[in-house]
Amino acid sequence: MFDFLDLDEYDLFGAFWTTIQLTFFAGVGSLIWGTVLAAMRVSPVPVMRAFGTAYVNIFRNIPLTLIIVFCSIGLGQTLRVTMFTDGSVDPTNYRLAILGFVVYTSAFVCEALRSGINTVPVGQAEAARALGLSFSQVLRLIVLPQAFRSVIAPLANILIALTKNTTVASAIGVAEAAALMSEMIENEAQLIPIALLFALGFIILTLPTGLLLGWVAKRMAVKR
């Protein structure tokens, strides 16, 4: 049944490895940029709040596909953004895809964190202020650590979503799992086994993430 699986011809593990890499780099990037955005959205400086709100409302509502395609055609081909590569197409598109994922996913990370901040009891921040802590100290030392612990489950959902979203990179020719699946479907006559194989691949990637982080979320939850 799996005689189509000629691993010399099709680099199955390489493709999924690319998917994992995309997920990893985009995930780390979104976590950092999303946290910065969340800090902006709750900051006492109105300009930063406005920027954070506008950013989230814009990029949450643009289709990821459009962002990724724009990264390749708009940034890459038209504006000649090379993302510190030598300018050849494949590595540039790979990095531009990561940039696109970060731009999109960080809006969701920001919203998740902001709702996490909402779960921290008012008394925590009030006590911190009573001790004379400044805004950045309140946020860094008191509120964000608690907020992060309560949003592990939503962040895990975002990570799983990101894993699945990396397939969109195939639209700009990044050689990840979905691109390989399209290629194999084109060349081999066994549609169902191929589709099941790739479905299984994504289930193997997403299911343990969900279970593991769900367990971590339960352990880390702040008991109140």
């Binding site: 400086v45 643009i62 959902n157 979503a161 699945k164 969109v168």
Partner: protein
């Protein structure tokens, strides 16, 4: 901590000066970035009047490309939602069944389709239609796109329906049983009609996800929706940046309005005195593009009665 100003003291004169400094520094950084982008765009002649002017002066851009594209986007999204809703309801109710041989298969199907990228389903559906059906080549992308979207979104909607039904007070089911209704009757006459209210905001949020996902059809199957329209415009007028920016703006407007509608409905239901006041949470989990992941669809508690005196 809904009022976020609790995070910082009311600014005194010194804090106000510092905030002003931060604001100025931030604006300067932002302007520097904007200036750099402007320079890049201008350098590549992307800001020339002739690249943007067709969107204002040339009606063709709208009548030939953007509006038909938008129509196709909304067509595919609407069709996907209309087909996915009843399917989702069936599977959602199936997961609540008392019989394990109904419940388990529904569980498996829903979890399976939620774990897989929509894009894979669309690619698969496209090839499946090509091999095993007589669907015409011209209409096939539409079929494939809608099929993929339905498979994924039905499983997400199933979770929403389940959470909606579970959000109702137990008394509703007990009362139905006391009246001698059968299980099916309780579901269709008592539980579902009330659950629809709780589900409505989440369903509209899901529509945003569907609208965004239709672009996959444009990117990989050459379904002529809004993203494809932008590509055609950019090749006709060689105004890549302008074309994609306008398309993105249209998406932002549509999805922003839908999200606002969902938020407004949610607040209205929470405030309302008629229903149970429970709403299926849509919070930060309503991600785009097959993004809902293993969404633990939760139910937000109803707001406390407004009449309770504040101590």
């Amino acid at each position: 901590m809904t009022n976020l100003s609790v995070l910082y003291d009311a600014p005194g004169p010194r804090a106000r000066r510092w905030h002003a400094v931060y604001a100025v520094v931030f604006v300067l950084l932002f302007l520097a970035l904007a200036w750099w982008v402007y320079g890049e765009l201008d350098d590549k002649h992307q800001l020339d009047g002739e690249k943007w002017e067709p969107f204002i002066n040339d009606g063709n851009v709208w009548t030939t490309f953007l509006l038909p594209g938008l129509r196709k986007t909304l067509e595919a999204a609407g069709l996907a939602l209309v087909i996915a809703l009843p399917l989702g309801a069936i599977f959602g109710i199936g997961r609540l069944s008392d019989h394990w041989w109904i419940r388990r298969p529904c569980d498996v199907v829903v979890e399976f389709f939620r774990a897989i990228p929509v894009l894979l389903m669309i690619v698969f559906a496209n090839e499946a239609y090509a091999q095993w059906s007589t669907v015409d080549r011209d209409i096939r992308p539409m079929y494939a796109l809608v099929t993929g979207l339905v498979l994924y979104n039905a499983s997400v909607l199933a979770e929403i329906v389940r959470a909606g039904v579970l959000s109702l007070p137990r008394g509703q089911e007990d009362a139905g049983r006391a009246l001698g209704l059968r299980k099916g009757q309780i579901m269709t006459n008592v539980l579902l009609p009330q659950a629809v209210t709780a589900m409505l905001p989440a369903i509209i949020s899901q529509l945003v996800v569907i609208v965004k996902d239709t672009t996959l059809g444009g990117a990989i199957l050459s379904y002529q929706e809004l993203l494809s329209a932008a590509r055609l415009i950019s090749s006709n007028y060689s105004n890549t940046i302008a074309a994609y920016t306008v398309a993105a703006a249209i998406f932002v407007v549509i999805n922003f309005l839908l999200s606002q509608l969902a938020g407004w409905l949610e607040r209205r239901i929470r405030r309302g005195t008629r229903g149970t006041g429970a709403v299926v949470a849509q919070g930060p989990a309503d991600l785009g593009d097959g993004a809902t992941g293993n969404l633990e669809t939760t139910v937000a508690p109803p707001a406390p009665p407004a009449t309770v005196a504040k101590g």
